[in-house]
Symmetry: C2
Subunit: 311 residues, 2 copies
C-alpha cells in the first residue's frame, strides 16, 4: 500500500521554551513523528516558533544595545534564524529516533518564505506579542520606527506584530520535490518568513504567519491526504472546560461549522485549528484531518484516540 501523505503541524508543546527545554521536548516529539513514519506516513512537518523567535529577537536587541555597531535584526531575520534553530533540532532528533528503529530516511529542513498581502487587514490591527517587556521610552522609540506596541499593565510595554494570511509558499517546488521523493521535509517553520512582493523583490515583512494557517495551505499545495494537527489535547472537546465536556471523536465539516458558529471553539486556541481543517477539506474534500496530542498520536492513527474531521 502506498504511504499516506500527511502534513503535520507541531505546536509549542512539541518544542519547549529554552534551548535545553527544546532539546528534550524535541526528542519526545521525534518519537511521535517516528511512530507516524512507521505507521506508513510520508511527512511534511511544520511548527510554531513563538518562544524561539522571541528569544532570538530579545538576544539580537540586547546585542545591539551593548554593541551599537551591529545593525538591527529585522523580524524576518529573526524568523529565519528560528527556522534554522528549530529545524536543526527536529531533523537531528527525528533522524536519530528513526535510525534507532532501523529506519533510514532523509530528514531535511527547507528555509521557507511565504508571501503575504501588504493590504491584509491584519496589518492594521497587530495582535501577536513578540519579545521582552520594554519601558515606555523604548516603546515610544519602537512606535517611531513604525512598529506597534501595547501596554501590559504593571509590567511595561510589548511589541505586537500583525498575523496576515499566507498567500504563496515561495520554496514550494523544493518542498514538493523532497516530499514526492518520500523524504521527510520540515518547512515553513513559524508559519514561514513573511515577505511582501514588490515587483521582483520579496521584502521581509514585520509579521508572523499563524502555523495553523500555513499548515492548511501547505497540505493543500502538497496535495496531502491528511492534515495532522498536534496540540495540547488528545481530542477536540464539546463544552471544553465545563463539567459536561465530552470528546468529539469524529465530525463532518458541516458539524464542525455548526459547533464553530455555536461558539464551541476558543479563539486563539481550538478555533484556528478547526478553521485550518475546514480550509483544507474545502480544497481537498476527500482529505482527512486529525487533531490530537503528541502523546496520543500513535493511538490516534489506529483510531483509538483523537478527533477526525472529514467532509
Amino acid at each position: 500500500m502506498a504511504n499516506r501523505r500527511a502534513v503535520v503541524s507541531l505546536g509549542h508543546k512539541a518544542l519547549g521554551y529554552t534551548t535545553d527545554e527544546q532539546l528534550n521536548a524535541v526528542r519526545h516529539t521525534a518519537k511521535a513523528l517516528a511512530d507516524l513514519v512507521e505507521g506508513g506516513y510520508d511527512l511534511a512537518i511544520t511548527h510554531s516558533n513563538g518562544p524561539q523567535v522571541s528569544m532570538i529577537h530579545k538576544a539580537m536587541t540586547e546585542l545591539r544595545r551593548l554593541y551599537p555597531d551591529y545593525s538591527p535584526a529585522a523580524m524576518c531575520v529573526c524568523s529565519a534564524m528560528s527556522q534554522g534553530y528549530v529545524g536543526y533540532d527536529i531533523q537531528n532528533s527525528l533522524k536519530s529516533e528513526l535510525l534507532s528503529r532501523g529506519v533510514n530516511r532523509t530528514v531535511a529542513t527547507i528555509l521557507t518564505q511565504v508571501t503575504v498581502d501588504p493590504y491584509d487587514e491584519a496589518f492594521y490591527n497587530p495582535t501577536k506579542v513578540i519579545g521582552r517587556h520594554m519601558t515606555a521610552e523604548e516603546a515610544a522609540m519602537e512606535e517611531r520606527k513604525g512598529n506597534y506596541t501595547k501596554e501590559d499593565p504593571g509590567k511595561g510595554y510589548l511589541r505586537v506584530v500583525a498575523t496576515p494570511q499566507p498567500i504563496q509558499i515561495v520554496e514550494l517546488e523544493a518542498i514538493r520535490t523532497l516530499f514526492d521523493a518520500g523524504q521527510i521535509v520540515i518547512a515553513a517553520g513559524g508559519g514561514g518568513i513573511p515577505v511582501i512582493e514588490q515587483q521582483s523583490n520579496l521584502k521581509g515583512a514585520s509579521a508572523v504567519i499563524e502555523k495553523d494557517d500555513i499548515a492548511s495551505l501547505l497540505a493543500c499545495k502538497l496535495d496531502a491526504d491528511e492534515l495532522i494537527i498536534l496540540t495540547g489535547v488528545d481530542c477536540v472537546m464539546k463544552n471544553f472546560g465545563k463539567p459536561n465536556e465530552t470528546p468529539i471523536r469524529n465530525m463532518t465539516t458541516a458539524e464542525a461549522i455548526a459547533l464553530k458558529e455555536a461558539g464551541e471553539f476558543a479563539p486563539g486556541s481550538m478555533l484556528p485549528k478547526i478553521e485550518a481543517a475546514l480550509d483544507f477539506l474545502e480544497t481537498k474534500p476527500e482529505g482527512r484531518v486529525l487533531i490530537t496530542s503528541l502523546d496520543a498520536v500513535s493511538y490516534a492513527i489506529s483510531g483509538k484516540n483523537g478527533t477526525v474531521i472529514t467532509k
Copy 2:
C-alpha cells in the same frame, strides 16, 4: 547543451559583517550567481559564516547574561541559526535577481549537518576564533566548561574552536534531489553544523568546518563538473604580494602541487582553496576548478579572467 553542474563556495566578502552589510553584500553576490545561472550552470551554493556565527554567539551569550533563565546556546545551535540567517538572505536575493532577469528558478536552503571524527587531531589543537573578547575570569570559566580560549594580548581572551575535516553530509540525499531536479540549492552553510556520531545519535560538536573543505566534499558527492571558489582576488597569483606577482590563469594539479610545495600559497588564505581544488580533482579527474572573485566571475566563465585548475 546540458547545464554544467557546479558547486560554488562563497567567502566572507560575499556576505559582509552586520545585518545591513550582509543585505547589501548579498544583493551584489546575487548578481554574480545569476550570471552563472544565465551562463548555463546548475548551482549548489555553500558559504562561510564566521562573522555571522560570531554575532549570533555573542547575542546568545549576552542574552543569557541578562536573563539567566535561558540555557546556553551551543555552537551547533548558533551555527544552525546562522544557516537560517545567511541562507534566507541568499535565497531571497538570488530569487529576486533571477526574477528581475525573467528567470524563474526555485532557490532553497537545506539546513545541513556534517559529521566529524571526535578523534580528528584538530580537536586537540583548536585554532578558529569565535565570539567576543572575554576577561580572564570569563575565559577561565569557559575552560572549566571544557571549551578552549587563547589570549589576545592587550585585548583579553578569545574562545577558539577546532576545525575538523568533514566526513559525511547528513542531508546529502535532500541536497542531491534538489540539485538533480535543476533547482538551486544552498547547503552546508558555514561548513555545515558539525555533529559527531554516537550510535544512532548525532551530537552537536563544538567545532567549525572550513568552507573550502566542505565545498570540495559537496562537489565530489554531488558529482559536480566544476568547483567554483569565489574569493577576494580575481586570480591565483604567483609571488603574491611581491613586486613580481603574476596571475596564474591555468594550472594542472601537478603544477599546483609543485607551487604549494614551494610555499607559494598562504596558509589560511589561498592554501586551503588549492587543497580543496586538489581534493576535488583527485576524486573527479575530469572536473574543473575555477578560483576567482565575485566581480570577475562573469568574465571568468567566458575564459577572460580567473584561474582554472584541471588534472
